[in-house]
């Protein structure tokens, strides 16, 4: 009988730790998204310079970006450059595949991805002025999404954190 009660408590604790960790992960992704969006905007500004002034081909521009971009966003550029050079894919397809692969390590929402996909459909297929226009448009859309993400961060990060632990406590009460 005592063993059964102890088992219930142990299982309850495990459940609580799990839900608490889930809350932490969700809160972490809410905190991480505005950071990644900010890094992405800075990278696109650098890409603009590479295209406009650096006179670089897109694969080299992407490789260079991958070298200087901090955090996991760099892998987005690295993957796109790899697909362009090694697989010889056109830019739109390489970019789409890189974005899909990035779901494993970036915390972008579908809205963020939509902006990036639209940019990928225009990159490399028009004259320089037009490229700059598309990059500028993408940066301003990402800035708006970043501002929204920062607002959400303030409300949601603590909420997810607290909800994770609260859900654990409730489950323990129900189970025990």
């Amino acid at each position: 009988m005592i063993g059964l009660i102890a088992l219930r408590w142990i299982l309850g604790l495990v459940v609580m730790v799990c839900t608490g960790l889930m809350g932490r992960i969700l809160a972490g992704s809410v905190r991480e998204r505005p950071r990644q969006l900010a890094v992405l905007q800075a990278s696109l500004a650098r890409m603009e310079t590479s295209i406009c002034h650096g006179m670089m081909f897109l694969p080299e521009a992407l490789e260079e970006l991958a070298g200087v971009t901090p955090g996991p966003v760099r892998y987005l550029f690295l993957e796109a450059a790899h697909l362009l050079v090694q697989e010889e894919l056109p830019m739109a397809l390489a970019w789409r595949r890189a974005i899909l692969a990035a779901r494993g390590y970036l915390v972008f929402t579908r809205d963020d991805e939509r902006v990036l996909l639209m940019l990928g459909n225009s990159l490399g297929i028009s004259p320089r002025d037009d490229q700059i226009r598309h990059l500028t448009a993408a940066k301003s859309q990402l800035a708006r999404l970043e501002a929204e993400a920062r607002e959400k961060e303030q409300h949601l990060a603590r909420l997810y954190h607290a909800l994770g632990w609260a859900a654990g406590v409730i489950l323990i009460l129900i189970l025990i």
Binding site: F57, P59, P90, G124, I125, D130
Partner: protein, 292 residues
């Protein structure tokens, strides 16, 4: 689609036209390509080029960086690594008589560049005078007869000091990157050990720069066309530097009727004219004419 190796080796040009059959040109004429990658004379059974094919072709040729070749595109061609020239046409958006932008690029003519070592072997003795100095020479032929291949080998042999010539400092003004196929500063074609390449330089400024800065023994350039380019060649001649150049045409008499040709004739720039054809394949030597 994969073409057989022997078919690939024989191709001189590939023609990609949206909505029309894929075709190639070899020494035997124009052929179409079947969906299985075989040559055929039937346009009906040939592979039809789609919009997606054209889009993909353009992206691969420009390395997904059309902005890098936008100025070249307005001239109607780009040069691929290896010196292959691609003529590209579509719909031009024109303002005040100038082509401002080209949209719907749907026609590509890929001219395969080939390095033929010793292509100038038979010709070279005729280009040298009794003292072994190079005679200024104009090579004339319609497109696709091997002018570029020939001057590439002339540069190589003069630079190496082959064919009875002593070693020369050669400067190649390669406006279209076809002669040397420079990639990241290094010629992909063998132009010999004593050759400087002015890659991508317009002929007029390139010739002037070469005269002023590179002290060439011989100047080599491709496809003279405008009067300004002919004027630059005259400048080189008056500076005492022999020049080997090419021009489109099929005879010296007809070339002289054009403004550039008339100027070259008036100043007696060239001592030798070489006429090429593709009667027995590209590079057929039709005539060597001495003008001095």
């Amino acid at each position: 689609m994969n073409l057989a190796k022997d078919v690939q080796d024989s191709i001189l040009e590939v023609r990609i036209r949206q909505g029309r059959p894929l075709s190639v040109v070899n020494s035997k004429g124009i052929f179409f390509v079947s969906p299985a990658g075989r040559l055929t004379v039937s346009a009906q059974t040939a592979y039809k080029v789609s919009w997606e094919d054209c889009r993909m072709t353009l992206q691969l040729m420009t390395r997904s960086s059309l902005y890098m070749v936008q100025d070249q595109l307005l001239s109607g061609f780009i040069t691929l690594p290896g010196g292959h020239r691609v003529g590209i046409s579509g719909t031009a958006f024109v303002e005040a008589g100038d082509a401002l932008n080209i949209r719907h690029m749907a026609q590509f003519n890929i001219r395969v560049a080939r390095e033929v070592i010793d292509a100038a072997q038979d010709l070279l003795p005729s280009l040298l005078d009794e003292q072994g100095r190079v005679r200024s020479t104009l090579i004339i032929s319609p497109p696709g007869c091997g002018k570029t291949t020939l001057i590439r080998d002339i540069a190589r042999q003069l630079s190496k000091g082959q064919g009875g010539a002593c070693r020369h400092n050669v400067v190649v003004v390669d406006e279209r990157s076809e002669i040397a196929a420079v990639r990241r500063g290094e010629p992909q074609m063998d132009l010999g050990p004593a050759t400087d390449v002015l890659d991508g330089y317009p002929k007029v400024s390139g010739l002037m720069l070469a005269i002023r800065a590179l002290a060439p023994d011989v100047l080599i350039t491709d496809e003279l066309g405008t009067r300004e380019e002919a004027q630059a060649v005259v400048e080189a001649m008056t500076a005492g530097i022999p020049i080997v150049a090419t021009i489109h045409g099929n005879s010296w008499e007809k070339v002289r009727l054009r403004p550039a040709g008339a100027l070259l004739a008036d100043f007696k720039v060239f001592q030798c004219v070489v006429i090429l054809s593709r009667r027995n394949g590209p590079g057929t030597l039709e005539q060597i004419k001495r003008l001095d």
